[in-house]
Amino acid sequence: MPDLSRSEESASMGSEQPELSEELQGRLLLAERTDKEINEAVLRPMFQTGLGFWILIGILVAIIALGMFAWGYQIRWGMGTAGINQPVYWGLYIATFIFWVGISHAGTMISAVLRLLKADWRRPITRGAEAMTAFALLMAAMYPLIHLGRVWKFYWMLPYPNSRLMWPNFQSPLMWDMVAIFTYLIGSMLYLYLALIPDLAMARDHTGGWRYKFYRIFGLGWRGTEGEWHKLGQALRIFSVIIIPVFLSVHSIVSWDFAVTIQPRWHSTIFAPYFVIGAVYSGLSALAAILIIVRKTMHLEEFLRSEHFDALGKLILVAGLGWFYFWFSGFIVEWYGNEPVVRELIHDEITGELAPLFWLQMVCNVVPILLLFSKRIRTKPWALLILALAINVGMFTERFLIVVGNLQRNYLPFNWGEYKPTWVEISVVAMTFAGFVLLYALFSRVIPYVPVWEIKEGRLRYSLRRIGRLLVPTAAEIE
C-alpha cells in the first residue's frame, strides 16, 4: 500500500490520493493548503479594521474613561465612595480580582499542559489562550491597587532597602499574591512572546509600513535557522514545565487570602483546589467564548474547526465536574457540621436574601455541565457560546458569594451587615472588562492570531495511514 504521508508535499496532492471521508476532510492538520496560503489566511484578518471595529473601540474607550474617572474620584474622596462597609470590608473589587485571576488559568492549561501532552488540537488556539491569560492578569493586577485605601503608598509592599529599615510582611497572603501574580504575569507574557517570534518574522516578511517596522523590532532578527528552532524548542519545553506549578500555585495563593483567616466558611482546607479547578472551569469557558467570537468576526473558520471546540468542550466538561465535586466536598462538611454561624450563612445562601444569586450560580454552572455531554452541542458554536457565557456568569457570581456572602455574617450577630456596590465600583469593574476586550481587540489586529508555525509543524506530524480498508490520521512521534 502506498504510504500516504503528507510531510513531503507542500504543494497540491498527487492524483493517487483516495477520497477522504468528510470527517477527515474537516481536520485542520490534514487540510490541503500550502504554507503560503496559510500565511495569507492568517494575515488577512489583521487588516480588517472596518467601521464596526472602530465603533467597538470607541465604546470601549468610553467605558474605560468612565472607569478611570470613577477610580480617580475614589482616590480623591476615599474608599467611602465604594459600597463596602463594616463587616463587608471586601466587595466587588476583590470578587472581580479573583475572577480575573481565574480567567487567566485557561491559557496556561491549553499552552503548557497540552503542549506537554502532545495534544495537537491546541495548535490554533494557543496564542489566543495565552493572550487571554496575559490580559486577564493585567486586569487582575490592577485590583490590589484599586482596593487600597492609600494607593499612593502601594510601594511599601515592595521589598526594597529603605530608611525605615522595614521589610514587607512575607507572612501576609497579600504579599504572596503580589509575587505570585507578578511571576505568573511575567511568565505568561514571556511564554506568549517566545512562541510568537517565528510568526512575527513571518509577518515581517509579508508586510510593509509601520507594521514591518514593528514586526522587525520584535522579531529580533529571527531567520529560522536550525539552531534558532532548536533553542526555541528547548526554551518552550522548559517554560511549559515551569509554568504549570506556577499557575497551580497562583490561584491557590489567592484562595489562601481567605482560607488563612478564621472567618466562618472561609477557613476551609478545600479552598485551594476548589479555586484552582473553578479557575480552569471559568477560564476555559471564557476561552471558548472568545474563540467563537473571534472566529466569527475575523473569519478564521478555517483554523478553528469543530474538532477544536469539541475537544475544548470536553475539557470544560471535565473542569466543570471537578468544580462541582470540590464545591460539594466543601458544602457537605459545612452543612453537616451545623455550626451556628455556618448554618446561618448557608441558610442565607440557599433560601435567604442571597438565594437569587446562589441559584443563578448553580444553574449557570451545573446546567452547562449536563449539556456539554452532547457532542452536537459542543460542536455548535452558538450553543457553546451561550453555555460558556453562562458559566462565566455563574463563576463570577460564585466568587462574589464567597467574598461578600461570607463577610456578611460572623460570630457576633450585632455586627452582621449587607453590601451593595456603588456606581464607582461598577464603573471600575466595567473598566477592567472593557480594558480586557480592548487589549484583545488590538492584539488581534496587530499580532497574527493563529500560531502559523505551530500549525505548519502540526501538519508535519500528521499523515494518513491505511489500516485494512480504513484510512486513519496518524500523528508522528516527533518532538
Binding site: 512575607f170 528547548q234 522548559i238 500555585s249 505548519k456
Partner: protein, 174 residues
Amino acid sequence: MDEATELIALFRKPADTADAIDALLAAGVSSDQIVVMSGVPYPEGALGRHVEWTRLPYIVIAGALGGMLFGLFLAVITPHLYRLDVGGHPPVGFPPAAIIIFVFTMMATIISTFLGVLWEMNFPEFGPKAYDKRVTDGDLAVLVEFPDDLTDKVHKLLERYGARDIRTPEPETL
C-alpha cells in the same frame, strides 16, 4: 587562505535538502558553514545534522538557584533584620517561607530561561544578514560558505538536488 564564497539556494523538500547537505559535506564543506533556514521546525535528524549543544539548561539552573537564594533572604532573613511579632507566630514560619521561596525560584527560572534563550540565539540582532523571505512560505533555504575553488562543484551539486534560485546572498536588514 582561500577566499570564501557564499551561496544561498531554495529547496522545496526536506529530503532533497538533507541529500544536498550530505553531498556538500562529502565535497569538503565543513558543517559549521552550512546554515539551513526554514519556516517550520523540522525534527532533529530530519535534515541529517547533529544537534547543537546549548548552555540553556545551565543558565536556567543558575537562575533557579539565584531565585531560591533571593526568596530565602526575603522570607527567612528579613524578618530577623527588624523584628516585629505578629499573631503569636514565630518570625519565620514554614508555610509562608515555603511559598515565598517557591515563587521566587519560579520567577527567576522563568526570567533566566527567557534571557538565556535570547543570549544563546544572540538576539536581538538587527544587522544585515543573509536571508530569504520565502522560507516562511514553505521553502527551505540553505546558506553555504565554502572556499572559492569549490564554487562549480557546489553549484552543480545544488542543482542536482533540485535547488532553485542559487545566488550570492545580499545581506538584507531583517
